[in-house]
């Protein structure tokens, strides 16, 4: 049994109670940008553990790693042109506090999970993306906000469930899913999660045997979809009817990228690859970008873009962490650098694969910690956890 079930019931009751209050005070997604949401007294009585710096800086400190193995990543073509906009960095936190920052769907705030003094379990903080204010508790629990900003999901470890609350409403839906992480559908009306498949879990070095489950965000109609597979992460198509994941058969074979139709329950392997990694679906659902690795033929390795049905495979000119722009017309990549130096943001056009540097490594040095970055809803900024000081920064690279 997971020890997390041992969380004192009283604490969880407090959390649930706080969550009910929080939803009534949180701006719906259609509202104009608002000041950081405050919480009921129980949650706001304690100050946040970090203080935001109000100033905007143009450079972040960069460490000097000792040895950089070479990489197969190519450098940005010299013929590419730099756009006229002058990028800038804004430091949002101090104290080396923060991991895995994500954008609030309204694009004005950055969310992350951190401790609350006097509270046993961590909470979700929000900090203004422009550095105009300090972090405040956004929600008294680790949580996930729906892409449309309509709802929030959070674990209730005491009761072994995930709870979902619609902003502005008092009622809370319950998903009996062992308090598993859930992925909201784009419209916020459904959630999906991965549950361990019944029966033995033979030891292996590939992902566990799971089944994909889907439920309505109000907790109704929970059902398993598709066959038992090996998978660890899900992504929704914009039609709210299909899910994409990197997976394998139950015996660990047939690795690839799969699409699950949650209505038909059918599972289709759209990409066959030896060891696909980091698959990312374009926001319009038409393309997938992924890293192919350890294929027999060297030319078959690298970042590839394919149509969502696996057709029209094309190789990208760079390797690195990559995200889709909101309009699905381009991708933003942090190419793997070979010189231990700072990172650089580069745009890759989806149609032509042309690359354009978005930042200058010398003028705006920064280092992102281990792929912990996310593109903003407006596609003009990234938020990242800095390798240099474990703080959260926003880098604006377009107006």
């Amino acid at each position: 049994m997971r020890r997390i079930r041992a969380v004192p019931l009283a604490i969880l009751l407090i959390l649930v109670a706080c969550s009910s209050g929080a939803t009534t005070q949180t701006a719906p997604p259609s509202s104009p940008p608002a000041a950081p949401t405050t919480l009921p007294p129980a949650a706001t009585a304690t100050p946040p553990p970090v203080a935001a710096r109000q100033d905007t800086t143009t450079a972040a400190p960069v460490d000097t790693p000792t040895l950089a193995p070479a990489s197969t990543a190519t450098t940005v073509p010299a013929t590419a042109t730099t756009q006229p906009f002058t990028p800038s960095l804004t430091k949002l936190t101090d104290g080396g506090c923060c991991r895995n920052p994500v954008w609030h769907p309204d694009g004005t705030r950055v969310l992350y999970t951190d401790a609350v003094p006097g509270q046993r379990l961590a909470a979700t903080y929000a900090v203004p993306a422009d550095g105009s204010g300090p972090p405040t508790v956004f929600f008294p629990s680790a949580a996930t906000v729906a892409p449309d900003g309509s709802r929030i999901a959070f674990p209730d470890f005491a009761n072994n469930v995930t709870r979902i609350q619609e902003f502005g409403k008092q009622s809370t839906a319950t998903i009996a899913n062992n308090a598993a992480y859930v992925w909201f559908s784009p419209d916020g009306r459904q959630v999906a999660w991965l549950a361990l498949a019944p029966g033995p879990q033979p030891s292996s070095n590939v992902d566990r045997l799971v089944r994909v489950w889907v439920a309505n965000a109000d907790g109704s109609n929970a059902r398993a979809r598709g066959n038992v597979v090996r998978a660890a992460e899900l992504a929704w198509f914009p039609d709210n009817q299909r899910l994409l994941f990197v997976g394998r058969d139950t015996d660990g074979g047939n690795p690839g990228i799969y699409v699950l139709d949650i209505n038909a329950g059918t599972l289709t392997r759209v990409v066959e690859a030896f060891s696909p990694r980091g698959a990312r679906l374009s926001p319009d659902g038409t393309h997938i970008v992924y890293l192919a690795a350890l294929e027999e033929q060297p030319g078959d390795n690298g970042l590839f873009i394919v149509n969502a049905d696996g057709s029209a495979k094309r190789k990208l000119p760079l390797i690195g962490g990559i995200r889709w722009a909101p309009d699905s017309r381009s991708m933003i990549i942090l190419p793997v650098q070979t010189d231990n130096g700072p990172d650089q943001l580069v745009r890759i056009e989806a149609t032509t694969l042309a690359t354009t540097p978005l930042t200058d490594r010398a003028a705006l040095p920064f280092r992102v910690a281990q792929d912990e970055w996310q593109l903003s809803p407006d596609g003009a900024r990234i938020v990242f956890n800095a390798l240099t000081d474990s703080n959260i920064y926003v880098l604006r690279f377009a107006s």
């Binding site: 049994m1 020890r3 997390i4 790693p65 000792t66 950089a68 193995p69 070479a70 990489s71 197969t72 990543a73 991991r99 895995n100 999970t113 401790a115 046993r120 379990l121 961590a122 680790a142 949580a143 674990p155 062992n178 598993a180 992480y181 992925w183 999660w193 361990l196 033995p200 879990q201 033979p202 030891s203 292996s204 070095n205 590939v206 992902d207 566990r208 660890a232 992460e233 660990g252 060891s275 990694r277 980091g278 890293l291 192919a292 690795a293 350890l294 060297p298 390797i319 962490g321 990549i333 942090l334 190419p335 793997v336 650098q337 231990n340 280092r367 910690a369 281990q370 792929d371 474990s390």
Partner: protein, 243 residues
């Protein structure tokens, strides 16, 4: 369901791995026990020649409280207090594995786990490097042989597939305190580790955030040493987008 899987019947392979690792704390194959690690740290290097890349090698799982280890420790890492007590380098079977430092071959297929084959090299200062999931019992070196950093000592393999089509990788450990403890190789081998993952973040390179202490063990380098046979240290609540 999770209760049954985590606390239920043990599997043969798990028992073998756990038993072998625990046994390694009691004796060392074919040679004398190394001394406890000392303050003078030897200069280590990466275990492969050539650059990382999707067609050569890359880090697929870091050392420590990875999300993947958090979910898979009952099957794989219960002997190591529930964390991934080495670094996994994904690479196709047969890649030449290099000694990470000068030393003496301590054991071949000794009681160090990481099947199907392993190699242990003792280094000055009480450090022992262990290379796991090797393709075959290595014949490139013999017990007691002196090796230099960069010498080819073995070939990489796949722990669960003789045909090397599941998860081929090298598992590298650095042990101290007479091989009873592992420590993070990323703090002993100079490298730009954050880029050895090729920019891909997943359950192998992200760490399961402890919601009771969310800043604990948060980065590739800030990870705990573990003592074989010690209690599980990852029994904490987390909420991660990797299952």
């Amino acid at each position: 369901m999770r209760k049954m899987l985590r606390g239920g019947r043990p599997y043969l392979l798990q028992l073998l791995i756990v038993g072998a690792v625990i046994a390694a704390t009691a004796f060392v194959s074919e040679t004398a026990q190394p001394v406890a690690a000392q303050a003078d740290t030897p200069q280590f290097r990466l275990p492969f020649a050539g650059p990382p890349g999707p067609d050569t090698w890359f880090v697929s799982q870091g050392y420590g409280t990875t999300v993947w280890a958090y979910h898979n420790w009952p099957d794989l890492y219960s002997a190591g207090q529930g964390i991934h007590f080495g670094v996994d380098f994904a690479t196709r079977c047969g890649r030449e594995v290099l000694a990470i430092g000068d030393g003496t071959v301590l054991g071949i297929d000794g009681p160090y786990g990481a099947p199907p084959h392993n190699l242990a090299i003792s280094h000055p200062g009480g450090y022992v490097s262990i290379y796991g999931h090797l393709r075959e019992r290595t014949t490139l070196v013999r017990v007691g042989q002196q090796v230099k950093a960069g010498d080819v000592v073995a070939h990489s393999g796949d722990p669960y597939s003789p045909s090397c089509d599941r998860a081929p990788h090298l598992h590298l450990e650095i042990r101290i305190n007479g091989v009873s403890t592992t420590t993070n190789p990323m703090n002993l081998i100079p490298a730009d580790w954050d880029r050895l993952t090729l920019g891909v973040g997943d359950g192998g390179t992200n760490f399961a955030q402890n919601l009771t202490d969310p800043r604990q063990w948060a980065t590739l380098r800030d990870q705990p040493d573990i003592h074989f046979g010690g209690g599980i240290i990852v029994n904490y609540p987390t909420w991660e987008p990797y299952a």
